[in-house]
């Protein structure tokens, strides 16, 4: 009886955030099947550790577990996602404003936009997903990704710059 209640409580509090969990998983893994597996595993872990959740909104907590599970899983599979080294200031800041009409055109191309986001390195991609798609605050993003607030802002800035440059054809110099 009690176990049913725990499950009922969990379903009520955490299952509504399934779309958020799947969306993050899908953008992290960039693969439909992996995303589903990741969500399954993350939910089971969340259920197991539900007692340690004390708060009112379980969405950031759940997304933290999705993200942690993803990196644990990466490590287990010995699959390495390259973390971008810091010297990506190879961009000339001057080029940012060039061709605004072209940018507007490209922004209307959903598939191009999707590819641009997919191509972003992990830590930039997740910042954009959490901010733009999940609408989380910098503070919440900082909590989920375990970095200071300033880092969240600078990652978003660099992510958006890269997106823009990808869209108008100035691809990032890969290292």
């Amino acid at each position: 009886m009690q176990k049913q209640n725990r499950r009922a409580l969990f379903e009520q509090a955490v299952l509504p955030h399934l779309d958020s969990a799947y969306n993050l998983a899908r953008w992290l893994t960039r693969n439909e099947q992996d995303a589903e597996d990741l969500v399954q595993e993350a939910y089971l872990r969340a259920f197991k550790f539900f007692d340690s959740f004390h708060g009112t909104d379980s969405r950031p907590w759940l997304l933290t577990i999705v993200r942690n599970t993803y990196y644990t899983w990466l490590q287990q599979k010995r699959v390495y996602e390259f973390v971008t080294p810091f010297d990506d200031e190879l961009y000339t800041t001057g080029d940012e404003s060039s061709d605004p009409e072209e940018l507007m055109l490209r922004l209307a191309d959903t598939e191009l936009l999707r590819r641009a986001l997919e191509e972003l390195p992990g830590e930039f991609r997740e910042a954009v997903v959490l901010r733009e798609l999940e609408g989380l605050s910098y503070k919440e993003i900082a909590g989920i990704t375990h970095v200071p607030l300033g880092t969240v802002m600078s990652r978003l800035a660099r992510a958006r710059k890269r997106l823009q440059q990808y869209l108008i054809g100035q691809k990032a110099k890969e290292l």
């Binding site: 009886m1 176990k3 209640n5 725990r6 499950r7 409580l9 969990f10 379903e11 299952l15 399934l18 779309d19 799947y22 969306n23 899908r26 589903e36 969500v39 399954q40 939910y43 089971l44 872990r45 969340a46 259920f47 197991k48 550790f49 007692d51 340690s52 004390h54 907590w61 933290t64 993200r67 942690n68 599970t69 990196y71 644990t72 990466l74 490590q75 287990q76 390495y80 996602e81 973390v83 800041t93 404003s97 605004p100 940018l103 922004l107 936009l113 999707r114 992990g122 954009v128 901010r131 733009e132 910098y138 375990h146 970095v147 802002m153 978003l156 800035a157 958006r160 823009q164 869209l167």
Partner: protein, 252 residues
């Protein structure tokens, strides 16, 4: 405000994360500076395009159903961490919920110690170490190789022990930074799990008796012994973690 400041604060402004004074400064600057105005417009357009619903992946319906099934199964089995309180309550659902809430509060208060910030740091370090290529700086399963590797890199000599025959092979070591100081990270594996053992000279932030908490899906254990603070974090289950700690403590 100049253009450099503007570029730096642009995203914070767009995301509504700046204070009102900064907002005004930016708006003033943008009225006078055409190129920054254009930059803002472009960035805004980009942000809007990305956050529009077209890039959002909703969960497929079958996933929802599959989840409900697997949760039902998980709920039916013996609870992984049977809380005495559940068995004692045994009565109305409402009472059980109230007790759960009180229990969580008590646990939260018990651990709202100076360690809370440090626990967060440890979790963050653990997750970061799982990301690309930064699990270990010295790759070796031989403690005779790993222990001396720390010489000259740290002002103390961390104990590194061999637990391979008990199922916890050494993966290697690396330097890390916790509690405002450089620390040793000795990494073990168990099946597919990664175990980070952080060690540094004791500064009495932890007790001699090991304590274990769970945070965001990881078990975090800490104690001090022989003048060293030990922090162990992994995604093993509670029993495996307890076994690892027992073995580690018996040899250090």
């Amino acid at each position: 405000m100049n253009c450099d400041d503007m570029r730096r604060l642009l995203d914070g402004y767009l995301d509504g994360e700046l204070d009102p004074i900064r907002n005004l400064e930016i708006e003033d600057h943008v009225q006078e500076c055409a190129s920054c105005a254009q930059l803002l417009k472009s960035r805004q357009a980009l942000s809007s395009a990305v956050s529009g619903s077209t890039l959002y992946y909703k969960a497929p319906e079958r996933l929802r159903k599959q989840l409900q099934t697997s949760l039902r199964k998980a709920g039916k089995g013996p609870a992984d961490r049977p809380l005495m309180i559940w068995r004692l309550a045994g009565i109305a659902a409402v009472l059980a919920v109230m007790v759960l809430v009180a229990w969580s509060l008590v646990r939260m208060l018990a651990f709202a110690s100076p360690n809370d910030g440090l626990i967060e740091e440890v979790v963050a370090s653990h997750v970061r170490s799982l990301q690309a290529q930064h699990l270990v700086d010295i790759v070796s399963s031989d403690h005779h190789t790993v222990k001396p590797w720390f010489d000259g890199k740290l002002d103390f000599s961390p104990p590194v022990v061999d637990l391979a025959s008990q199922g916890f092979p050494l993966a290697g070591g690396r330097l890390d930074y916790l509690n405002n100081r450089p620390v040793a990270a000795v990494v073990y594996r168990h099946d597919k799990h990664v175990i980070n053992v952080f060690i540094w000279p004791s500064n009495h932030t932890v007790t001699a008796d090991p304590q274990t908490v769970n945070r965001q899906g990881f078990y975090v254990s800490f104690w001090e012994k022989g003048g060293m603070s030990y922090w162990v974090i992994s995604d093993m289950n509670e029993q495996e973690q307890a076994q690892f700690i027992k073995l580690l403590r018996s040899q250090t």
